[in-house]
Symmetry: C2
Subunit: 204 residues, 2 copies
């Protein structure tokens, strides 16, 4: 199985395992069983083992997995072993909240720059990041950022994404409720809070 295609769903679960492992490491735990891990994440134990089996043999029967080594493995798989730089465009309510959030660090993710069109905001600092003029979006190229967070109004989302793609952004986290048109090799993840809230009544 080791060299087969990796299921998308498996990739989606890896960050969750990582989150749980960080928690365990903080509490001084050095070894963990698939059962342990599964309870933290909310899946079944065999799901955890199956997921790992796509990449190799990570654990020892009768013992479990070594927390630190497993953490490193998952980090490597997810390409979180080296620092990844991100920029944020649109420092409104939501953008400011994301900028102020410090929880990205342990995943080796850093927001190195923020952009806005509002002249009153340009020059100010939020979450330790200075807000620049969106007209200077081209400067992202020199910063070597590969990720972008889009928190502008939907109407201008596509307009800010196009130049970002041109200067080397490869992955986009899109908070607007507009579908972004990008080249095939660019990855877009959409977070639409409205959609998620609107889905809930169906299930209740």
């Amino acid at each position: 199985m080791r060299y087969a295609r990796i299921p998308d769903q498996t990739i989606r679960r890896l960050p969750l395992y990582l989150r749980a492992l960080f928690l365990m490491a903080e509490q001084g735990q050095t070894e963990v069983s698939s059962k342990d891990l599964s309870e933290h994440v909310g899946v079944h134990a065999w799901q955890v083992r199956k997921d790992f089996s796509f990449f190799g043999e990570f654990g020892r029967p009768g013992v479990g997995y070594q927390v630190s080594w497993l953490t490193d493995q998952i980090k490597t798989i997810l390409r979180l072993d080296s620092e990844k730089k991100a920029v944020l465009v649109g420092v409104g309510n939501l953008g400011a909240a994301v900028l102020s959030f410090s929880g990205f660090n342990k995943y080796n993710l850093t927001i190195i720059a923020a952009f806005d069109a509002d002249v009153n905001k340009i020059g100010q600092t939020v979450g330790g990041v200075e807000i620049r003029d969106v007209a200077c979006l081209d400067s992202v190229g020199e910063l070597n950022a590969t990720l972008a967070v889009i928190t502008v109004p939907g109407q201008v989302a596509q307009a800010v994404v196009d130049p970002l793609v041109n200067v080397g952004i490869r992955g986009i986290l899109n908070f607007t409720s507009c579908r972004l048109i990008v080249p095939d090799q660019i990855r877009v993840t959409n977070i639409d809070i409205g959609m998620d809230l609107a889905s809930l009544p169906y299930y209740i």
Copy 2:
């Protein structure tokens, strides 16, 4: 097919169709084909038709779907035909952003109350909603709210969720990176911005 079990993935797509239909209605469009709709949402045309086929016959061959009627149908399926009330707990950076957001209205969703533990915030108004003392969380029962948005620090998330479940909340939108333990009949949707950002490097 009409009375079979509805695939989860179909339900997940319905709000996206709804979002596109609102846009079309705004632009004065009265009829729409599955092809049209599919391009707005980013799926294939037959996926759209298949999804609708689980609920009945919504369109007319050779013509398409009537925008207003289709909108009503989806609203009904998603239980968005009557107003649903939500409360928000934790008016920090993220909570304030959600409170200030006005895009929930068209889905018949209203945030009617907000709660925080910070005495400096209690009594203030954000996004037209007055912040109340989290110690009075029990009062949610009288408000007839069925939904809750959780934007408190992860450590206290479970502590605020437990009383919410007791006073009748049925659906929860959880922004913390902690798994919430709730009774089976309560629906929890997790939005973890850190996880979504951490997944991107794998794909780039």
